[in-house]
């Protein structure tokens, strides 16, 4: 199949169109602005609606409305803008409205910097909004995956009636790479009898709402959501292992940092050290059992976590390993990316070399 050169953000936008998304509500922010820019040009061509809202808060609530009508809808932003959307995300989860949310992370906290970061891991995997809710989070490590995961995200959202986040970082959004528009796995999608599409006088009104004022129905609603989240954990956990078999050092990283780890693995190989990579593809649900298994190999002396933060995913690694292996950390926050050399040196230090 023919390969083309795509910028990460553009590929995310085009993937949404190819997934049948005709509605986008958002607000510009670096380093993700090419997503709305692309959709502002191309959604009108297919009879869709691109709307630049007055704020991120407005945009996510427009997503709530459109998703409630049963259409495929997307919003995108970068870290500070995603913070503003948190209220909407918990409402969407509470009301079980499917949608896709893109976060092209930049350095924080607050306004931070426009350079790449992975400091929104806690927010994405634990939720920055209120209440017991979860959103599946797919973390692409290259532009091809960005294109694929956006399309997968729409299916996961529809299957589970839940918002799905694609968690990229500024580097994935801004860089150019080859993409081929191959088909993704075709999944059975449920009908949307719950959508507010008009009763035609033939049925009861559908109500999209997250308000359950009586505690018993609210508790029951939470139990129902919890069952769904358990099912997502069971069915949707994704990860990749690269050269992990028999490795001495097991890197654990996602997105851009996983690319740096792969380069560090080559440097270490030149020095006779066998390093492997465990890459969570879904950071929620996190592949706890799979990571524990990979790290349990006798050959693994240390697990080295690399992040564009000062240590967030490392908590999930600790949960996964339950103290079974030593864990060390290399990371930078605030827009800097560690070099392969720095990551390789951290690995050597972890194994006392």
């Amino acid at each position: 199949m023919e390969k083309e050169l795509w910028k990460g953000n553009e590929a995310i936008a085009e993937a949404a169109i190819r997934a049948g998304c005709k509605y986008f509500f958002g607000y510009p922010i670096t380093p993700q602005t090419e997503v709305p820019e692309y959709l502002s040009l191309h959604l009108p061509e297919i009879g869709g609606c691109f709307l630049q809202a007055e704020s991120e808060v407005a945009a996510i609530n427009m997503v709530y409305g459109a998703g409630g009508c049963g259409v495929r809808v997307m919003t995108s932003s970068s870290s500070p803008g995603i913070s503003l959307k948190q209220e909407g995300i918990t409402y969407l989860c509470g009301s079980e409205v499917p949608c896709v949310i893109i976060n092209v992370m930049r350095g924080g906290p607050g306004l931070g910097t426009i350079q790449p970061a992975q400091g929104d891991y806690y927010q994405a995997t634990r939720g920055g909004g209120n209440g017991d809710y979860r959103t599946p989070v797919l973390a692409p490590a290259n532009v091809q995956e960005a294109a694929d995961f956006v399309r997968m995200a729409f299916d996961i959202a529809d299957i589970y009636r839940n918002p799905v986040m694609v968690l990229a970082d500024g580097m994935i959004g801004q860089m150019m790479e080859a993409v081929e528009w191959h088909d993704i796995e075709k999944r059975e999608l449920p009908a949307k009898p719950w959508a507010t599409t008009g009763t035609q006088g033939k049925r009861e009104h559908n109500v999209i709402n997250s308000l359950y004022i009586q505690p018993e129905p609210c508790a029951e609603h939470n139990e129902k959501l919890e069952k769904k989240y358990k099912l997502i954990e069971e069915k949707e956990t994704r990860y990749e292992e690269i050269d992990a078999e028999g490795c001495e050092v097991l890197f654990t990283a996602y997105g851009t940092t996983s690319r740096v780890c792969r380069a560090a693995m080559k440097l270490l190989a030149d020095e006779g050290i066998k390093a492997g990579l465990f890459r969570p593809i879904t950071v929620w649900p996190f592949p706890y059992a799979q990571l524990k298994k990979a790290a349990a190999q006798n050959s693994v002396k240390a697990v080295v976590v690399a992040e564009l933060s000062l240590g967030q995913m490392i908590d999930d690694v600790k949960i996964a390993l339950e103290g079974s292996k030593p864990i060390s950390f290399i990371g930078k926050a605030g827009g800097l990316v560690p070099t392969p050399r720095e990551v390789a040196d951290a690995a050597k230090k972890a194994i006392g070399r």
Partner: protein
């Protein structure tokens, strides 16, 4: 005959910056007093300013937008006027992508009216938005409209990052020729990764072959 000031425009992601950095280094290495102005107000990442130390080591003067590009609202420094006021420089201007990026040139309307410049439009046949003659010409005309300048030369810079093959370069040469036929604008350069230069040298048609090295690497590609 190349002009003293060369303005590099094109669709974003076409490889303007890689071309500009290589062009500046090659002029400087040939002993020409060279300045590179990074006037990209569109891209926050992968900017020629990021290669400042390399360029300066080769004797290239680097002129950049304020704050080295690390702000959302880059401002154009008056230092850019050096290119126009000091004719001892060979000046290369790395513009931001698309008509939006070309707007910056409006600021230099008076200077540009006095100066005979090369206005080079970089084409990459692997970019979905400029892969056909029709689409490429549309972008080219949009850039002309926004900048108020006429494109004087085409640059075939067709690549697929690390997955580039000879067929990509030849596909780009064919696109450049077709755009040239459609517009009457000459093909000025073929920017070709050095390892492919000899394989394609006699298959490109008109235009100077500029063998290039890859400087605008991703963070994990340096030193590999």
């Amino acid at each position: 005959m190349k002009k003293r000031i060369q303005i590099i425009t094109g669709h974003y992601g076409s490889g303007k910056t890689e071309f500009a950095v290589n062009l500046a280094l090659q002029y400087a290495d040939a002993g020409v007093k060279t300045a590179l102005a990074d006037l990209d107000i569109v891209n926050p990442y992968f900017r020629s300013t990021e290669r400042r130390s390399l360029l300066e080591a080769h004797g290239v003067r680097v002129i950049t937008t304020s704050f080295s590009g690390y702000v959302d609202l880059p401002a154009i420094t008056p230092e850019v006027l050096t290119l126009f006021d000091d004719p001892s420089y060979h000046g290369i201007i790395d513009m931001g992508g698309d008509p939006e990026g070309a707007h910056v040139l409006g600021r230099f309307e008076k200077q540009l009216a006095r100066e005979d410049c090369d206005v080079l439009c970089v084409l990459n046949a692997n970019r979905p938005e400029t892969k056909t003659v029709e689409k490429a010409v549309l972008y080219l005309r949009g850039i002309e409209q926004a900048s108020g300048l006429k494109v004087t030369g085409l640059v075939n810079n067709t690549h697929l990052c690390r997955e580039t093959g000879v067929e990509d370069i030849l596909k780009g040469a064919a696109l450049a020729r077709a755009v040239s036929e459609e517009t009457g604008i000459e093909v000025a350069y073929h920017a070709v990764e050095r390892k492919f230069a000899e394989q394609v040298r006699y298959q490109l048609g008109e235009g100077e072959l500029l063998p290039i090295d890859i400087y605008m690497c991703k963070p994990w590609e340096f030193g590999l």
